[in-house]
Symmetry: C2
Subunit: 248 residues, 2 copies
Amino acid sequence: MPTDPRPTLTRAKVASQSTARAPAKTKMRGESGSGARRVSAETVAANVMRLLEERVFLPGDRLIEQDLADRFGVSRGPVREALRILEAKSVVRIEPMRGATIARLTDEEARESVDASAVLFGLAARRAAARAEAKGLKALKEHVARLREMIGLEIEPKAFFRQTLRCGRVVLEMSGSPRIAKLVVDVRFGAPDYYGPLGFTTSDLRRQAYASWRALAAALESRDGDQAERLGRKVHDDAMEAALKVAP
Amino acid sequence: MPTDPRPTLTRAKVASQSTARAPAKTKMRGESGSGARRVSAETVAANVMRLLEERVFLPGDRLIEQDLADRFGVSRGPVREALRILEAKSVVRIEPMRGATIARLTDEEARESVDASAVLFGLAARRAAARAEAKGLKALKEHVARLREMIGLEIEPKAFFRQTLRCGRVVLEMSGSPRIAKLVVDVRFGAPDYYGPLGFTTSDLRRQAYASWRALAAALESRDGDQAERLGRKVHDDAMEAALKVAP
DNA sequence: ACCATCTGGATTGTTGACAATATAGCCGAC
DNA sequence: GTCGGCTATATTGTCAACAATCCAGATGGT
């Protein structure tokens, strides 16, 4: 029974335990901390990634440790850890004693990342085909159907692109392979230059992408691993082709 | 002229500048620092990797920050950065407020890593086929020839395995795709359980591996990308099959 | 004996300070 | 003007100390 008023209280700090998780103690960690109990380093890394997606940071930009520390309200320690995390993902580049910069990829390097992500996604699709369940298939079909609806709509290309990402996420979940899924995402984001591919500007490109996704869904339903892998790569290539059309 | 006795010397520390790179100042960084001017964090990460390969650290082992700091003669700061690097490679696992442990992979997770590495190596082989140069081909053939010589020899299986690694490294170099090459290595080492695969115990397994490598070399020579990718995966599968024979 | 509770030590998370290095700007020699 | 060296500042690398948290063993009640 927790009604006990706690008679023998030696350390005062324990008192705040019962009052639910007082957050004002540590000074507002992170900027918009979406996570629950993450450590500063991870929060900082996630926030840098967000600013990267929002085009606040651009490839080649210098990242000053103290600046990031001030911006996110932490000290340089966690910032340095965050930079190491991002370096391992090839998102930033660290030169000893020279500091960190947002990775600026050559076209060749970007191509490598995209190709790598494509074959990994192909592998995920193959695995998804081997264990396709009704639930996942249903979700994928619905997402693909929305893709079709968006072909003729007058929306910004980014919305269409985001929908393809959602389709991809479903396939990754269906693969039941979290490690491979993580790799696909990490490698893809390792190419910051090709971030918000504003491709899919013409209805032709969209129709092509929809056709590929629909075929992939069909391959998964018939549990055809070879076809699934091939089409998994194809949807990737479609997206890149569309992206290259707008930013060559 | 540096003969000037420096009349207006505001900060004294600049004095040690002229005497060439006194190394005794900072207390012997690293344990056996093979690198030249690396920062502590990278040295620590590399040393942990080495100890991992030498089976000093085993999957599931707890990594105490202070222990590592003492062992390598640095403070906890660089150690924490090193752990972040290793975590990003999935070599160690960090739980907030609970510390770091050497990743212990389930069979499923290990399989995922190996499969991912295999398809990435297949991609590298395809790229190598597209740009195969005489020099690389020659080197590869020589390495593969040594592989054949090692089939019947009474050597420890590890030596044969290492030789296949050397062959793989040549292919990765031939691919001219450093990013993909790095991914192959990182993903492969992300599965510490399958480290020193002591496979290739029987001459049958070795003969099989040699045949695959020889076929891969031939595919590269004839610039057949499809075959190269297929065989690139096969040599990977051979290695894993051999490893599974010894430690199921 | 069993259970919850309470310690005290061990370990992680974070910070501020200091040292080492690089960089941009200044100055004088030519 | 241009070049090379010097200096002041900015920035990174490192460390030791403090705070927060977790964990194993002790403690006490039933």
